[in-house]
């Protein structure tokens, strides 16, 4: 099987399996809480149901509101095409592709925030404000963490950055710190506990969910699918940082899938055992993530 073929296969697997991860996290939470919980495939059911529904659009909204979901979801799909799985390069691999990876999620977030502001709703404005706040702090943490790994790998493409030996190599501390920083970004960007609670039903406390209050039907399906893709992409980044490489694409694929299963389980476990942070404390968490990334950077300077 050619390299491009493997990349396409891996991309297709990502696009198909992404909605499974929130299902795994939810199942873990249910098991810990002693419930039976929703089906593993609940996200697929939700998306399918939403796709077949009509839509309600606010009279305040403009084309920005209608363009946002499709464009944002497309940006997330292309970001997955940038992220490599195994030792093989991704479809869109080049020197500096990690900045495109971050930039595509920046574009997605920009569109989500503007769609929220387009409704003129006070609640959605509040969510947008908080999203802008947290993401502005998450951005340096992500890029510094990636920079520390790029310094180790002596290369600026994600394929090389993630092709390292994982924690098995000589510099376990820097890798662990970078992975920790990316994990904090993962929690924040995907609206998971302790930053945001995907299960909350009080608009005042929501961040991500409150921004999409006015979306419905196909648009909401795109948004939900897009957010599972984002979860997969940032989770895949953590897996990529920590995992070992075998050199065999099938084994690499299996390790990657296993890693995503672990990410889902870890997210669910974390959400079961810790409470959500008070809003004012969240920036401290994010700054801590930035500090971890900076420390990883400093460690990788020593070589």
């Amino acid at each position: 099987m050619g390299t491009a073929g493997i990349s396409v296969l891996q991309l297709a697997l990502s696009l198909v399996l992404a909605p499974l991860v929130p299902g795994i996290a939810n199942r873990v939470k249910a098991v810990v809480a002693g419930r039976r919980g929703q089906p593993l495939l609940q996200a697929y059911h939700d998306i399918a149901k939403l796709l077949l529904k009509g839509s309600v659009y606010s009279r305040t909204t403009t084309w920005v509101f209608r363009a946002g979901p499709a464009l944002g979801c497309a940006a997330a799909m292309v970001a997955l095409a940038v992220l490599p799985w195994g030792a093989d390069a991704s479809l869109l691999s080049f020197e500096g592709d990690l900045i495109l990876f971050a930039g595509l999620f920046g574009l997605m977030r920009f569109l989500t925030i503007l769609s929220a502001l387009d409704t003129g709703s006070a609640f959605e404005g509040m969510g947008a404000s908080r999203e802008a706040w947290f993401s502005a702090l998450a951005e340096p943490a992500l890029l510094l963490a990636l920079a520390s790994l790029a310094g180790k790998a002596q290369s600026l493409s994600l394929a090389a950055v993630l092709a390292g030996p994982g924690i098995g190599g000589g510099r376990g501390a820097a890798v662990l710190l970078a992975a920790g920083a990316v994990f904090i970004v993962f929690l924040s960007e995907n609206a998971r506990i302790p930053v945001d609670d995907p299960a909350t039903h009080l608009e005042l406390t929501m961040i991500h969910e409150v921004m999409v209050l006015d979306h419905s039907g196909v648009d909401l399906a795109y948004i939900q699918y897009g957010s599972t893709l984002k979860l997969w992409a940032l989770g895949g980044l953590i897996v990529g940082i920590l995992r070992p490489r075998t050199g065999q694409w099938m084994a690499d694929c299996a390790i990657g899938l296993g890693g995503m299963l672990c990410v889902g389980i870890a997210t669910g476990a974390l959400e079961s055992f810790i409470a959500r942070l008070r809003l004012a404390r969240v920036p401290q968490l994010l700054v801590a993530g930035g500090a971890m990334a900076a420390l990883a950077l400093a460690l990788s300077l020593v070589r």
């Binding site: 529904k53 363009a67 499709a70 799909m77 292309v78 930039g103 340096p140």
Partner: protein, 680 residues
């Protein structure tokens, strides 16, 4: 004999004076000024592009007053040509916008003088980058500063405009004072070092010719090059708006008419960057601390600029602070480039310079676009206060579209032009980090952290600027009544928006276009730079590919939505407000509340003052809230300094009593003193 590159400035001057002479009839001089300025600038753009493509470099030196070292030396090289592109391009676009935005005033006052100053500003900016003699340069520089000052003071009957004008005038004069000293040092060092370096018997030219400075770079300048660098950073940095010398920007840009703000913020402040780069070419091999200084200045300017921008609710003041931020990004790029040169890492140097330079061009385009878009919105509503605006995208769809593109571009989002230049700077910094050697690695880490933070904050700021102004419901009646601006206001906005997308999608091409300039700055052989940017070029091609994929995928998804929604209920309704019965436009988030979490976090730096009357009774009669974020450096540094200087100098006031006879005596005494000094 007369170089072709002088033709456009001369044409601009002719147009300007014609506009004044036609001044009796307001409409005629207005039309003449606008059309002439546009035409002359477009001719200039054409000549510049042709000369750049054919690599037709020229230097012409005409004798002038050699006793003070002056000569009328004009040169056109890659660096000048690169800066001429935005100067002419944005001048033409802004003239078109000015035609539309000034028109309503053409009955009340003669616009001839305004167009004269506009043409003089454009011509003097061109002359600044063409001049090859320090005296000529300073003359052009001062004409540029004064003409822009006169443009800022266009609505001089308003008190705040006069205040802004004075702040700008003082700042620019202080900057020039540093430049004067710098050129004197360069002249002294050049005349000490040049004769030895050049073959005997050759025509030397005037003492203050740039060619002399460059020739003396190896010998005479060495000892004082550090001083010259600092002087140029302060002098040119005042014009460019680096922190803490930026205090005039947030005052002058809002006070000026929008097409002038766009021109000043888009290109005039870049002449400061040009000045720094030109001086660097005199100084020979850069010392590492210059690069470090530029990186530090860039990081501080970028972060402080974007934070203060976040705290503003006057849209033009917000944009002015973003100019400070973007000058910071440019300095980061140039700093990376300098460090790359001094630590002998050509890849880092080339990428840093390429990113910094491309950001000069990009910022000219998107900041021009944003100022013009904000100007069109201000024109339609009569207010710059974002908290009174809202819902303008429905009322001004084309202006809104343009502003949205500009907002995404300045936030550095793919695939627009801002992303391309920031990607190059990131790449330079990453390369510096990956190479062996601690200093480059540390600088790379600093630049990556600073750029990432700036990028995140800029995205927050521009979702606010666009979202609050153009989305949601109108917050005040003037916004509700707004209608789309005329074609002469909309066309420039849309043209610049198209340019943002074009440079973003033609990133690989733009990179090879600037490779010669980069090669000069990085001190490489001609053609070497093009090879070094090869991988980055390939990367930019992949970015374009990614953009095409995003466009295709989202297009397909939009199509799927159309198909799925066919035959189903698609209803228009009110915004879901969680069951509230009577929603009001004033319940929306405002620019201040949107930014509050972030401005609160950085409150110690921003020191926002709030005045409010709280709600006290169960049936409140009135309540109010107002916040203001004045410039920290103006308040805490410049104001006390100027107050102290004023107090100290007022002791000398007895010299100035208004008796003319005694003033004549002063003159005579001064002349006598000079005479005695020179004779003895």
């Amino acid at each position: 004999m007369i170089p072709l590159s002088l033709l456009p400035p001369a044409l601009l001057l002719v147009v300007g004076f014609c506009a004044v002479l036609a001044g009796r009839r307001g409409a005629l001089s207005h039309a003449l000024g606008a059309a002439g300025a546009t035409g002359a600038s477009l001719i200039g753009l054409g000549i510049t592009i042709a000369a750049l493509r054919n690599a037709r470099w020229e230097t012409v030196s005409l004798p002038w007053n050699t006793s003070i070292g002056a000569s009328f030396s004009i040169g056109f090289d890659p660096l000048s040509g690169f800066f001429l592109l935005p100067i002419y391009g944005l001048s033409a676009v802004c003239a078109v916008f000015g035609f539309g935005s000034l028109r309503h005033g053409s009955r009340e006052r003669s616009l001839g003088s305004s167009w004269l100053f506009f043409c003089v500003l454009a011509a003097s900016m061109a002359l600044v980058v063409l001049a090859r003699n320090a005296v000529l340069f300073l003359v052009a520089w001062e004409i540029m500063s004064l003409s822009s000052w006169l443009l800022v003071a266009h609505e001089h009957e308003r008190e705040e405009v006069r205040q802004a004008g004075i702040t700008y005038l003082v700042a620019t004069q202080i900057g020039t004072a540093f430049l004067l000293v710098m050129f004197l040092i360069l002249g002294a060092a050049g005349s000490a070092g040049a004769p030895a370096a050049s073959p005997a018997g050759q025509e030397q030219g005037a003492v203050l010719d740039f060619a002399r400075f460059a020739a003396g770079s190896g010998t005479g300048i060495g000892a004082v090059s550090g001083i010259v660098f600092v002087l140029s950073l302060v002098g040119f940095g005042t014009k460019a708006g680096i922190v803490p010398l930026h205090v005039w920007l947030p005052e002058a840009h809002p006070a000026a008419p929008s097409h002038v703000s766009a021109l000043m913020s888009g290109v005039m402040i870049k002449t400061g960057i040009y000045g720094i780069l030109r001086v660097l070419t005199f100084l020979g091999a850069p010392v590492a601390w210059w690069g470090w200084t530029l990186v530090a200045v860039g990081a501080v300017s970028g972060i402080v600029g974007v934070l203060f921008a976040l705290a503003q609710h006057d849209i033009k003041r917000l944009l002015a602070y973003h100019s400070v931020e973007n000058i910071g990004i440019i300095c980061l790029g140039l700093g990376v480039g300098l460090l790359g040169v001094s630590y002998n890492a050509p890849v880092v140097a080339v990428l840093g310079f390429a990113g910094g330079l491309l950001h000069v061009l990009n910022h000219a385009i998107f900041k021009g676009l944003l100022f013009l878009g904000a100007g069109a919105a201000t024109h339609a509503t009569g207010t710059r206060e974002m908290d009174r605006l809202g819902g303008l995208l429905r009322r001004m769809p084309l202006t809104g579209l343009g502003f949205l593109v500009g907002a995404a571009a300045i936030s550095g989002l793919p695939p627009l032009n801002g992303f391309v230049s920031e990607l190059l700077i990131f790449l330079g910094a990453f390369h510096g980090f990956a190479l062996p050697g601690i200093p480059l690695a540390v600088s790379g880490a600093v630049v990556i952290g600073a750029l990432a933070l700036i990028g995140g904050l800029a995205a927050a700021c521009f979702t606010k600027a666009f979202g609050i102004t153009f989305l949601g419901e109108p917050r005040a009646p003037e916004a509700a009544k707004a209608v789309e601006a005329g074609v002469s206001l909309v066309a420039p906005v849309l043209f610049l928006a198209a340019a943002c997308a074009a440079i973003g999608l033609a990133g690989p091409y733009a990179l090879s276009l600037i490779a010669p300039v980069v090669g000069v700055l990085a001190g490489l052989e001609p053609g070497a730079a093009a090879g070094l940017v090869g991988p980055a070029r390939a990367g930019l091609q992949s970015v374009v590919l990614a953009a095409v994929w995003v466009a295709a995928l989202s297009g397909a998804m939009a199509l799927v939505r159309v198909l799925l929604q066919r035959g189903r209920a698609v209803i228009q309704s009110g915004t879901w407000d969680c069951g509230y019965v009577k929603p009001d436009a004033r319940m929306q988030y405002t620019s201040s509340s949107f930014a509050q979490p972030l401005t609160g976090m950085f409150g110690t730096l921003l020191r926002t003052t709030r005045r409010w009357r709280p709600i006290e009774e169960p049936f409140p009669k009135e309540a109010s809230f107002a916040s203001e974020t004045p410039d920290l450096f103006a308040q805490r540094f410049f104001r006390p300094v100027f107050k102290g200087a004023g107090a100290a100098l007022s002791r000398m006031a007895w010299l100035q009593h208004g008796r003319l006879q005694l003033y004549v005596l002063y003159l005579a005494a001064a002349l006598l003193a000079v005479l005695v000094w020179r004779l003895s």
